[in-house]
């Protein structure tokens, strides 16, 4: 404990070993993952993201939505995510290969959004963002500043950011089969 070099070497190893074993080896294991078909010749999933959805993700990040919403479905037996209807299967690493940044989230002050854009979801997202209390989500923050009024003042018009955000939320889905999560099985 008196030798600084030995002390620093020990601390360096204590930082570097977990970094190598946890982060670098994960990159080696998961880095090559890409879009793939569940069965040979089938369509590639996850689908390519529309440009509008990519812009919408930037709005999602900018507003800090990740502080209240997760985007991950845990497997059965670890919580009740599937039973609660957050998804039809557990999320797998391949679902996130196109996402930049990956927004798994750590808190569920609001519901999980991993499958928010799945066809079963019938929520009027514009109404929810503009006036959450009227949409039965009184705990949700207001995003009324993303909406304006038309020139004649009679109708509400979403801003470009609102359009992009809604497009992003509608693009969120993990209801397809992939090599790691084949729904037919």
């Amino acid at each position: 404990m008196k030798n600084l070099n030995a002390l620093l070497a020990g601390i360096f190893l204590a930082v570097a070993m977990p970094f190598g074993a946890l982060v670098i080896s994960s990159q080696v294991q998961l880095g090559p993952l890409g879009r793939a078909p569940a069965e040979e010749g089938g369509p590639l999933f996850p689908s390519l993201e529309p440009g509008l959805a990519i812009r919408g993700r930037a709005v999602y990040v900018s507003l800090g939505c990740v502080s209240c919403h997760t985007q991950q479905v845990r497997p059965a037996g670890q919580g009740s995510d599937i039973a609660r209807g957050y998804g039809v299967r557990a999320s797998v690493a391949r679902d996130y290969v196109q996402q930049m940044p990956v927004l798994l989230g750590e808190r569920r002050i609001g519901p999980d959004l991993a499958n928010y854009g799945a066809p079963a979801s019938k929520i009027d997202i514009d109404a929810l963002l503009r006036d959450p209390a009227s949409s039965g989500a009184a705990w949700h923050p207001y995003y009324s500043y993303l909406y304006g009024r038309s020139a004649d003042g009679k109708s509400i018009v979403p801003s470009e950011r609102a359009v992009a955000l809604v497009a992003y939320l509608k693009s969120l889905r993990q209801d397809y089969s992939s090599p790691e999560a084949n729904l037919k099985q």
Partner: protein, 481 residues
């Protein structure tokens, strides 16, 4: 217990200093006060934001800020978190670590302007980062929310402001080292490595897919345990024996505590990803490391509580301002360690996952432990460096009781509220509306606790700033213990 030898190799007890302001303290005064004053200003700002966050969380859809984009929940929560960690936690530990190492190693801070420059860079970068968060320019990764251009500036500023303990360790005149020195060197060396690698793999050359989240979990665990945890442990190892005037109980175990803490801490990150779409082996490593962390926690508990439990230590701690805060922190660290071990396991973790429970654990570590220890340290150091007395004993009482009660209330609200929330989330018959309704009770407790903490911090700031302003004594003036 090892034999104490005060002259050359004091074991389990920091060396005695003389009663006058030493030359090393004179050299430290400028940078120390810069870091300290900055830290308190950021703490006040973070406390005000914490009140807004808790009010917004209690009624997100209402309130005066509902149409203000800048103050939307996602901005204020991120700004508050970063201000508390990088504004308060880092500045305060820069000051404390510098002082500790100079005391333990008789280090003379030549070129102190470099530390001052680092402090200026750090606080300017922090200000810029927080303004950017309010402007909506954030990254989406907790505690790395600042736009990526802030990262390199913070890293350089850290090297200027926070690397001195390593220089002090290298230049110490005696061969003997003390536990506090190992922990401070550990914190000062581990953080920049961690921060740079995390910046690189998350923001500059992002890793593929969920590897970003894995790197992030590794970063957060290192930041909380190896910076906050190690730095605060160093302070407790110093102040307990120093103020009580006795050796640390079971001090011979301290090296085991240090190495096991440093070795296991870095592996605990993936415990925050249990159930996430990351490899199962990785989650298991996190569970095992979280459980193994109980080893240093037990040893440190033997060291701290053993020292406090002999010869009326607890009652002396209660009657001494520094020790009252420090021993509060020591108990909080043990609680944190036990909770961390238990809730690393899959079963309990599955219940509290995605609830406020993790925030409660973080509050236990960064506030009830680290922040209370920092307060205790300030009560010890500031009179020595300023040559003044604390202006108001009443404000000290207000400070202790407000922060102690506020800390306990916030932690109970976050932990118990999180547990209840988790139970309800697991029950599919309970709707989200019902869960939100139940949570509102705990939100009220949380709001009250944030107000209590703000009151405590204002009392502390008034006292501390009053003392610094009053201090016109020349640097060589005597000090009082």
């Amino acid at each position: 217990m090892t034999q104490e030898n005060r002259s050359d190799h004091p074991q389990g007890r920091p060396p005695e200093g003389d009663s006058r302001l030493t030359r090393t303290e004179v050299q430290l005064r400028g940078p120390f006060l810069l870091f300290f004053i900055s830290s308190v200003i950021w703490l006040l700002a973070a406390s005000v934001l914490a009140v807004i966050v808790s009010l917004e969380q209690g009624s997100l859809s209402g309130g005066p800020f509902r149409d203000c984009e800048m103050l939307t929940y996602g901005h204020v929560a991120a700004a508050q978190h970063n201000l508390f960690v990088y504004g308060w936690g880092f500045n305060a530990f820069f000051a404390l670590n510098l002082w500790l190492l100079s005391q333990l190693g008789r280090f003379e801070l030549r070129n102190g302007w470099l530390a001052t420059l680092g402090g200026v860079f750090w606080n300017l970068a922090l200000t810029y980062g927080v303004v950017q968060i309010f402007a909506g320019n954030q990254t989406g990764f907790s505690l790395l929310e600042f736009p990526r251009e802030v990262g390199p500036v913070l890293a350089v500023a850290f090297l200027l402001a926070g690397f001195w303990p390593i220089v002090a360790f290298a230049r110490r005149p005696t061969g003997h080292t003390f536990a506090s020195q190992w922990f401070v060197v550990g914190a000062s060396f581990a953080f920049p490595l961690t921060y740079l690698m995390a910046q690189l793999l998350i923001l500059w050359q992002p890793a593929s897919g969920v590897v970003q989240s894995i790197a992030h979990s590794w970063f957060v665990s290192n930041l909380l345990l190896l910076w906050f945890g190690s730095s605060a442990l160093a302070a407790v190892y110093y102040f307990l024996p120093k103020v009580l005037g006795r050796t640390i109980s079971g001090y011979y175990l301290a090296p085991v505590a240090f190495w096991s803490f440093v070795l296991f801490a870095g592996w605990t990150g993936p415990a925050a990803l249990i159930g996430a779409p990351v490899p199962l082996w990785l989650q298991s490593v996190g569970v095992v490391a979280g459980a193994m962390l109980i080893i240093p926690v037990i040893i440190i508990a033997i060291n701290f509580h053993g020292t406090l439990s002999t010869e009326g230590g607890w009652s002396r701690a209660w009657n001494d301002t520094t020790l009252r805060f420090v021993s509060f922190g020591a108990v909080a660290f043990t609680l944190f360690g036990v909770l961390n071990a238990v809730f690393s396991f899959r079963g309990p973790n599955a219940v509290v996952r995605f609830t406020s429970f993790a925030a409660g654990q973080e509050q236990l570590l960064t506030y009830a432990f680290a922040t209370m220890v920092l307060f205790g340290a300030a009560y010890f150091i500031l009179p020595r460096l300023t040559g003044s007395l604390w202006p108001s004993a009443k404000l000290i009482h207000v400070h202790f009781w407000s922060t102690a009660l506020g800390a306990v209330a916030s932690i109970v609200a976050l932990l118990v509220g999180g547990w209840e929330n988790g139970k309800q989330l697991a029950d599919t018959t309970v709707s989200f509306q019902q869960i939100a309704k139940t949570g509102s009770t705990w939100n009220t407790v949380l709001s009250v606790s944030t107000v209590l903490l703000l009151v405590g911090h204002v009392a502390f700031a008034l006292n501390a700033f009053g003392m610094i302003l009053k201090s016109s004594a020349p640097a060589s003036a005597g000090r009082h213990d």
